[in-house]
């Protein structure tokens, strides 16, 4: 039977039509590809609009089309749209082929003649290929109702609670001993100046007590297998050396532990903790962890103070505890692993770690936190002097060609918050050195106004240097901030007692490896790439894996909470569907052609191909097959075919693509 093919060329406004002569392409396809079965060829302003889709549907019904080729954007964007449109008109969706003349043609070429010819070639390839497309049905696989959430910061907590409250089970994995994330370290939150702990800790307690949440702290995901609906995650539960079944979290062990260690994680190096510890008093779970590297017993076999004083029966301290490996089954995964602070020592001229009273934003958060190392007193590194002048440097490591080009988005508001707190608690003069003040969310601009009215000074200019070398007597013994005030066009030297570096947010050092583990990609800045920057900000290109919070890009607490909730809604939607349709791209072996050589058996990384000893042929298990097609290409007998990407489809597409040559420049 000869196919009746319809070709639809999209203008995409001027995105395609601006470079490719769409009318010419459409006319050419109708005329020159008629021999291949093209019965109608049209161009339209927006093929993906409902009118464009109706155009295709009308043709399918009225002209009896058996195949459809749409030349528009990337199949990763609108393949589903056009397949659904075809399905709506009664055509099997897999008989529709979307070829990209936007991402791969009009957007990347400027030569209009060459781009138009390339569009023709691409369409000819699509037409030649679509002839061999087969009617397929998507594979339906059940969705496991449990969800894995990685990262117990505010985004992960929000997502976990939403899903658990809806009645589904959640595994929340956190690599630190307690959930809470960065938000637990903060004192106040902008712009309302709510106490961070007061709004966060109740949520943490809810997570700890929730019957639907299995909380796995001090744990890391090591391996993820499977696909949407049925992932298997391998999780390493690191040894706490504390038996959580009997421990009551009474705190006697860390009171009695004689070993003090500088806390570089939670206290940002400003405070100390014991060798057995919980990061902070409201930690969830309440069980402590023994710091293996700093515990005297693990170093020299002596001490055991914690074990001696532990009042529980049986004793909760277990020095022989080993890491535990758990394997869990989940249907969906949310990654909410957050960010790390930009390392301010990378900018040597700002003197962090060299000049005592240069602090990072996280250090300052701990300084002004009532439960922090100074009990909320804003003092210099000597822990007693109150500063009289404080300079806050914005955009440290952000919006900087040398470090990170992006805006870290939270630092302006955070700096304004610091300015307010310093003025309120110490009465000191505060200078903000900024590039631009960015306060785009609800009530943020009002907060900026408030800090201005409170008497904060604002200098528009990027700080050049922070030094302790005085030029005039009034600078003696002070830090001097050298900055160009670009609004008055003058260099200024501001003597200060304290400088706060508003350091930017960065992806974790291991973000790339973690992304690889879950099969998702990082963008150029290292943040995970969402499926669509506007319309699908929490899904990723890998089905069943969602992202929330700062892993997707720098954002503040309200945005992280919103994303956590959004990701959970997506997951719950998936769970409610009970099954998911997978692309029917699978390999299958023709028994009659298989010689039983078993070459394909070893080519498959998923062990989806097994050998039938009795029939002496190999067989593909469609549930395990992921559709890569390596066995199809490797079979010496040509006995394996791959649906959706068959040899006929690809060989014909090659023929079609080469139907017309490049326009050769005229030889002068």
């Amino acid at each position: 039977m000869t196919e009746r093919i319809g070709v639809y060329v999209c203008h995409c406004g001027t995105n395609i039509a601006g470079v490719v002569d769409v009318a010419d392409v459409s006319k050419w396809a109708g005329k020159h590809l008629a021999g291949q079965g093209v019965v109608v060829s049209r161009d339209y302003k927006f093929m993906c609009s409902s009118l464009g889709q109706e155009l295709i549907q009308k043709d399918i019904k009225e002209l009896g089309l058996t195949r459809v080729v749409v030349a528009a954007c990337s199949p990763h964007l609108h393949e589903k749209t056009f397949r659904n449109a075809c399905a709506g008109a009664g055509l099997n969706p897999y008989l529709c082929e979307l070829v990209s003349i936007r991402e791969q043609d009009s957007w990347v070429h400027t030569d209009k003649v060459a781009a138009t010819d390339k569009a023709k070639a691409i369409i000819a390839g699509g037409v030649a290929r679509v002839v061999h497309n087969a009617e397929l049905e998507p594979l339906r696989v059940p969705i496991h109702p449990d969800t894995l959430i990685v990262g117990g910061g505010i985004a992960g907590i929000q997502a976990a609670l939403e899903i658990a409250d809806a009645g589904f089970h959640v595994y929340l994995v956190e690599r630190e001993p307690s959930i809470g994330g960065h938000m637990a370290q903060f004192d106040k939150t902008f712009p309302t100046l709510d106490c961070s702990a007061c709004i966060l800790t109740p949520k943490m307690v809810d997570v700890g007590n929730h019957p639907n949440i299995t909380l796995l702290t001090w744990s890391e995901v090591e391996k993820v297998d499977g696909y949407v609906g049925s992932f298997t995650a391998t999780i390493r539960k690191k040894a706490r050396y504390v038996n959580t079944d009997s421990c009551t979290g009474c705190g006697i062990c860390w009171e009695k532990c004689p070993w003090k260690v500088v806390d570089n994680v939670f206290e940002a190096g400003l405070g100390k903790r014991k060798a057995i510890y919980t990061p902070f008093p409201q930690a969830v779970p309440k069980y402590p962890v023994i710091d293996f590297d700093n515990c005297a017993y693990f170093k020299n076999g002596k001490c055991k103070a914690c074990q001696i004083y532990c009042p529980t029966e049986p004793n909760s301290i277990d020095f022989n505890q080993k890491d535990e490996i758990l394997e869990i089954q989940v249907g969906n995964i949310i990654l909410a692993t957050g960010y790390q602070l930009f390392d301010a020592t990378r900018i040597p001229q700002y003197g962090y770690k060299r000049l005592a009273n240069v602090f990072t934003s996280l250090e300052f958060e701990r300084l002004c936190n009532a439960s922090g190392p100074t009990e909320g007193k804003i003092v210099l590194r000597d822990k007693k002097t109150t500063p009289k002048t404080v300079v806050i440097v914005h955009c440290v490591g952000s919006r900087d060609e040398n470090y990170n080009k992006y805006c870290s988005s939270i630092c302006c508001m955070q700096s304004l918050k610091f300015a307010h707190l310093v003025m309120e608690r110490t009465g000191a003069e505060v200078y903000n050195c900024y590039i631009d003040i960015r306060t785009p969310s609800k009530d943020y601009e009002e907060f900026y106004k408030r800090v201005l009215e409170e008497g904060g000074h604002f200098i528009r200019g990027k700080v050049a240097e922070i030094t302790d070398v005085a030029r005039v007597p009034s600078e003696e013994g002070k830090l001097v901030v050298q900055v160009e005030d670009t609004l008055i066009g003058k260099q200024r030297r501001i003597p200060a007692d304290m400088v706060i570096l508003s350091a930017g947010l960065e992806p974790h050092d291991d973000a790339k490896e973690v992304g690889k583990l879950f099969g998702i990609a990082c963008g150029a800045s290292g943040w995970y790439t969402e499926r669509h920057p506007k319309l699908d900000p929490v899904a990723t290109m890998t089905d069943g894996i969602y992202i929330a919070g700062c892993v997707q890009g720098p954002k503040d607490i309200p945005a992280s909470v919103a994303q956590g909730a959004a990701a959970s809604a997506r997951v719950m939607g998936k769970i409610q569907q009970k099954e998911v349709a997978l692309e029917p791209v699978r390999a299958s072996i023709n028994e009659n052609q298989c010689s039983g050589c078993r070459i394909c058996n070893n080519l498959c990384p998923f062990n989806a191909i097994s050998f039938h000893e009795d029939k002496m042929v190999s067989e593909v298990n469609p549930a395990l097959c992921q559709g890569c097609g390596t066995c199809v290409a490797g079979c010496p007998a040509g006995a394996i075919s791959g649906t959706g990407f068959s040899n006929e489809q690809i060989l014909s597409q090659i023929e079609g693509l080469l139907l017309i040559n490049m326009p050769q420049s005229v030889v002068a």
Binding site: A115, K118, C522, G523, M541, V585, L603, F606, C628, I650
Partner: protein
Amino acid sequence: MSNEKFEPVIIGFTCNWCSYRAADMAGTARMKYAPNVRLIRLMCSGRLDPTFVMKAFANGADGVLITGCHPGDCHYVEQNYKALRRFLLLRRVLTQMGIEAGRLKLFWASAAEGAIFAAEINKFVEEVRALGPLTWPTEFQPIASIPIMQEVTA
């Protein structure tokens, strides 16, 4: 026809997960590159049957490009290594057939590497341009002088 005016036609194979997305990324970022390459999307570079490359050359392509995820990044664990093996073997076979090995190229591009994708394409187009058109004999001449082996029977 002088070589600097020559516009080669190149068939490029991409994998669905990395290099096709790199091409998409080059598109969304409006990076400009030479219009000589026409892409085919496969699920994985491991799907690349050597026949596809031969078919492309036979049908008039002047160059063939194979792209995939970086080693270690393959969506299907390790299938890009199999593409690499086939690529190396194909280059030898092509050389034996009298086709310059430089007409077949392989590079890796992650979904984030639109810029690399565009730059590599430009580079390859120049390389193939320098090699000139892949001209097949228009008419194969039967060689009369080869003596036909006679079957000897006792």
